[in-house]
Amino acid sequence: MSIWERFERIDARLVYLFMALALVLPVLRPIGMPISINPHLTQPFFDWIEGRLPPNSLVLMDAAYSAGPAAELEPQLVANFIHLMRRGHKVVVMAQWEMGAVLARTTLDRVAKEVGAVYGVDYVVAGWRAGGTPWVRSLQDDFWAGMAAVDVDGVSFERLPLMARARALTPEHFAGIIIYASGSPGVATWITWFPEMPLYVGNVAVQVPGNMDELAAGQIRGMLSGLRGAAEYELLIDKPGRAVKLMDAQSMAHAMIIILLVLGNVGYVMKGRRKAA
């Protein structure tokens, strides 16, 4: 068996080892590779919060994710939240995924201290409720009734001043929706039942190609693509954070995968030639 053919049968554990090295080394010693801003995905998202949102707007965030995709989506959530707070806007968070609300609450409480945001005044995490899409649809009529008038910790909306503005999930009360989407239920809920609301999506990378048609059709106004999108947003708000730090590792891992793909395919071709001979 030639060396090229060995590449076709490379042990999966060796691939994991190479991949781990490609990821760990740049995390410990960043290279500082350049990051460009995507003009079709990230830039419209930033421009909306930066300039097009009316002052003191109320924005709904939907934390539709669990612990797994949090690595991609929480840096997006943090960057958007910092930007919204800096511009003087308010945020209400709900979640189509039960764990999303709890994860978002923990994350936002940490970030709120950095930006001076006050719970109940600048942001509220209303939470998740059982009922799927019909439950989300009910928020259109009466946000308080749909949420049973309590936040994720069971605190009454009466004791949270911001919630006086959030009576219904309509354009009269909310200026737009940002969903951090990792699967189903997710984006489809909003484009189907809330077409009149401006929708922006923080997406896991795997879903981005599938949502491009909605972006082209104007059903989605802007989109952050995985950790890369978060890194771009961190640069736009001039607050490089976790996503920017991890981009070198991501790029190195992609380079490693491309090399392994090429080697594996060369091995495949060489084996075919030998068989033919």
Partner: protein
């Protein structure tokens, strides 16, 4: 290096390593963690539903506001459990299922076509792009690529005319390449996403647990 002394961080770190041990081979540590995760997930949902849905609904909607229809539909929902109680009464569970299915179908049919029709409308593109009185070659090229990919992909799934006809055969072959490009983009993004997930764990292990400065 400044290793964390927080027991919670240690539990998370050990749990992460137990799950990743599967990369080497199937083992008892991985299976133990998998079962724990399943149990914790179910318990988490149950507690969250009880605390933030059932209790507030009873206290606010039923007792304070007097919306007694919640009780009626609550009892209807409880009929689902008759399947577990006894075969004699299990037929009662069909009623909440019937209501759910009926509502679900109607709910979906009410609005679902709209998003797709908007996308169909968006597919009617201008194939000769002129903006501000200037011909845009790049945009025109993009629209033609979109148009050809759309038509040929539809052709690939068009079975009324046999694919022996030359125009359909050539068109569907181009469509197959268009589909392959889409699959490639999806796969590339999947890889990027999976690496991001691993990077999240890696950052936790190196920074939060082992205390490396990142």
């Amino acid at each position: 290096m400044n290793i964390s002394g927080d027991p919670q961080v240690w539990v998370i770190a050990i749990g992460t390593l137990m799950i990743y041990s599967y990369l080497w081979k199937e083992n008892a540590a991985y299976r133990l963690m998998e079962h724990m995760l399943l149990g914790l997930g179910i318990a988490f949902s149950a507690v969250l539903t009880w605390d933030t849905l059932i209790i507030p609904r009873v206290r606010t909607n039923i007792i304070a506001q007097g919306h007694w229809m919640f009780v009626v539909f609550g009892l209807l929902g409880l009929l689902l459990y008759t399947r577990m109680l006894s075969p004699k009464w299990s037929w009662l569970s069909r009623y909440p299922v019937a209501v759910s299915v009926g509502y679900g179908v109607g709910f979906s049919m009410a609005m679902s076509p709209r998003p797709w029709l908007l996308q169909v409308r968006d597919s009617f593109r201008d194939l000769w792009v002129v903006r501000d009185g200037v011909f845009r070659a790049q945009a025109t090229f993009d629209e033609w690529v979109f148009f050809i990919a759309l038509i040929t992909t539809v052709m690939y799934f068009f079975f009324t005319v046999p694919h022996r006809v030359t125009a359909v055969r050539v068109g569907s072959r181009i469509g197959r390449y268009a589909i392959m490009v889409a699959f490639g983009a999806a796969f590339g993004n999947t890889v990027a996403g999976r690496i991001s997930l691993f990077l999240g764990r890696l950052q936790f292990l190196l920074h939060d647990w082992l205390g490396f400065i990142i």
